[in-house]
């Protein structure tokens, strides 16, 4: 009798452990997460427009239908990424996700404060390797550190009314996301 009680109690305790382990493991083993859904449709280190958020075409759940969206799947192993997104009339934002869907950084047009959002994305090693005497650092460029070498950049432009959707799409179509040539050579002066 006691033995069966132990079995049940032990089973419940062990169940707690199984629960914790499986919650922590879920983001790694999920095969239908946003990155897995989007990655096959995207070109590497280039901007691809995402299908319109409408019934039947939305590539992932809970997309905001008032936004035009484009994404860039990046891989930083061949150098840092330079991202340029012209802002649309209403509202534009750029969000950075790791390959496990963690939104580690997001910025909107107002906090970027310009007509074009310009960002450099690099790993912490690449940032550390930047020449320090570079007089154009910080002030001119916004540098984002990616916690993982691969991930997603999602650009979104709001169409406040359905008729403004073509404008929002056009702003994103002019966005660019490309690998920068290694800039580690000494400066020529």
């Amino acid at each position: 009798m006691i033995r069966w009680l132990f079995a049940i109690l032990g089973g419940i305790l062990l169940g707690g452990v199984v629960h914790l382990v499986s919650v922590l493991a879920l983001p790694r083993i999920a095969s239908q997460d946003a990155y897995a859904r989007l990655a096959p449709t995207l070109k590497l280190n280039a901007v691809t427009a995402l299908p319109e958020a409408a019934p039947g075409t939305a590539p992932m759940p809970f997309m905001d239908p008032a936004f035009a969206a484009a994404a860039c799947k990046y891989d930083l192993s061949n150098g840092s990424i330079k991202l340029r997104v012209p802002v649309s009339q209403a509202y534009t934002s750029v969000s950075f996700y790791t390959n496990e869907d963690i939104a580690y950084y997001a910025i909107n047009d107002r906090s970027a404060g310009r007509k074009v959002i310009e960002l450099d994305l690099m790993t912490s090693q690449q940032k550390a390797a930047l020449p320090e005497d570079e007089d154009i650092t910080a002030a001119d460029r916004l540098i984002i550190e990616s916690p993982t070498p691969t991930g997603l950049i999602v650009m979104r432009a709001l169409a406040p009314e359905p008729g403004l959707m073509p404008q929002a799409e056009a702003a994103l179509a002019a966005a660019s996301c490309k690998v920068q040539a290694e800039v580690s050579q000494p400066k020529q002066r």
């Binding site: 062990l14 707690g16 997460d33 958020a53 809970f62 869907d101 950084y105 997001a106």
Partner: protein
Amino acid sequence: MRLIFVLILAMAIATVVGLGLTWNTATRGVEIGTLTIGPWTARPRIGTSDIDPYARATVARSGELPIGAGDGITFRATTDDAGKKLDGRCDVVVSGVTPPARFWTLTIYDTKGKLIANTLQRYGFTSQEVVRASDGSFSVRIAPRARSGNWLPTGGISRYLLLLRLYDTPVGVATRSKKDAPLPSISTAGCS
């Protein structure tokens, strides 16, 4: 021989309890780090690197991309103010004011996060297109059949979700109560 049966029972209980809990929490979500104001709930940390493991599991399971914290915040509602589940066969009225934000959108989804097809291609309202009263408040009527004013069609499905997204807003990790973030009320006005 008996020991083996005991062990098998313990393992079986562990598997059922552990995976059951995980499935349940990843599907429904847990109240860790959530901000609840009336029927609306938000997870202010979901769009940051500090996202908790339960929220990560939910995100991985549903396949959505959370809105980054520098972009905005999402409030979800599955019930009205009285706690009644939102029913697409009823008239539901969302009315009042929204917290300070440059833009907001109110969107209706089915329980899987898909938009509900309709001939008007009307899936939600943005803060700019919604028709307001003279005091700046608004009222959106969510109903299966056409209504005057701001009408959001449900297609007659039984359960749905409302998502209120605020973009470029001070509402976030520091928000605690309704005083900081006055959200619109949701009420069921009658079922057909």
